[in-house]
C-alpha cells in the first residue's frame, strides 16, 4: 500500500510523516506478524507456559484483542469502553483454544478495517482520555495499542525460543 502523499503533490510539501492509510497498514502489518506468533505457539503451552511469573501468551494475546477494536471504536466515536468492562469481572470469558483465539483475532482484523473507514481525519490530533483514563491525542493512543502489541509479542518470542521454537521473522509484515 503506497502512502497517499505520493499521489498528491500538494501534500508532499507538508511535513507529513504518517497518513491515516499508512498508519492502518503499519498496524495491520504488525497484526499479521502477531497472528503468526499465535499460530506457531504450541496449544498446550499457550494457556499454561510462563517465564518469571508473567502472563501466559494466551493472556497477552487477549490483552491485544481486548484493546484493539474497543480502542479503535473509542478513537472513531469518542465513546470509550470502560477498562473494567474489558478486563474486570464483567469481561467476556476468554477462549480456551488456539482456534477460537485465532478466530477472535481475524474478527478483530476485519473490524479494524471497517472502523478505519469511519475515522474522520481531524480526529487524529484531538486530545481525549482513551478508555476514560489515558490522556493524549488519538494518534498517541492508537500508537500505544500498536506498541503494546509489539512489546508483548516480543515477549512471546522469548517464550517460543525457550520452548525451542523458531518465531516468525520480525521484519516480514506481509
Amino acid at each position: 500500500m503506497k502512502p497517499e502523499t505520493l499521489e498528491n503533490p500538494t501534500l508532499k510539501k507538508q511535513p507529513v510523516v504518517f497518513t491515516p492509510e499508512t498508519l492502518l497498514e503499519h498496524w495491520q502489518g504488525h497484526r499479521r506478524v502477531s497472528r503468526r506468533v499465535l499460530e506457531v505457539f504450541p496449544e498446550d503451552k499457550l494457556f499454561t507456559y510462563s517465564i518469571g511469573g508473567m502472563r501466559t501468551y494466551a493472556m497477552l494475546t487477549m490483552e491485544m484483542i481486548r484493546l484493539a477494536v474497543p480502542g479503535l471504536q473509542g478513537a472513531v466515536t469518542g465513546k470509550w469502553a470502560n477498562m473494567d468492562d474489558l478486563f474486570g469481572e464483567k469481561a467476556p470469558t476468554p477462549p480456551t483454544t488456539k482456534k477460537e483465539l485465532l478466530e477472535l483475532w481475524d474478527k478483530s482484523t476485519d473490524m479494524i478495517n471497517q472502523l478505519w473507514t469511519q475515522m474522520r481525519p481531524q480526529r487524529f490530533q484531538e486530545e481525549e482520555a482513551a478508555f476514560g483514563m489515558f490522556m493524549g491525542t488519538i494518534t498517541s493512543s492508537l500508537f500505544y495499542l500498536i506498541d503494546n502489541e509489539i512489546h508483548h509479542r516480543g515477549q512471546g518470542y522469548v517464550y517460543l525460543r525457550s520452548l525451542g521454537i523458531e518465531p516468525p521473522a520480525f521484519w516480514d509484515r506481509n
Copy 2:
C-alpha cells in the same frame, strides 16, 4: 511536546497523523524507557544472561545503538552505512561495562536530536533502500528502528522478570 498541526489550522484539514516533531518525540519517549531497562539490568547478567539461546541484553542494546544514529544519518543524508561495517568483523568493539553502554546510549540520544533538525520534511515519503538493503519509505525505515527497539526491549522485560527484577513501566515515556 504538542503536535505542530495543533498550531497550524491549515494543516488540520490534511489527513496528517504524525508530523516530524511527533515522530521524534515518539522515538525519544521509547528511548527513555529503553534506557531505564538498561539501567535496572544487573551488570553481571547484562553481558552473560540469555534465555533459549538468545542474545544477551547487552547485545540487543548494541543492536539498537548500532541501528539508531547510522539509520537516521542515512535517512537524513541518503548515505547509508553498510550493515557489515555496523555488525561484521570491522564493527567497533562493543562496550564491556554498563556505564559505557549508558554513555553510548546518551551520546546517541543527543545525536538523534541534532540530526533530526537537518531532516528535510519531504524526505519522509521518499523511497530508498535503508542500509542499501531494505526498500521502503524513509518513514517506514525509521519506524522499523523504533519497533525493533520496542521488540527487543520487550524481550529484556522477560529477562528481568526471570531474574526477579521489576522492569520499568512500559507506559511511562517521560
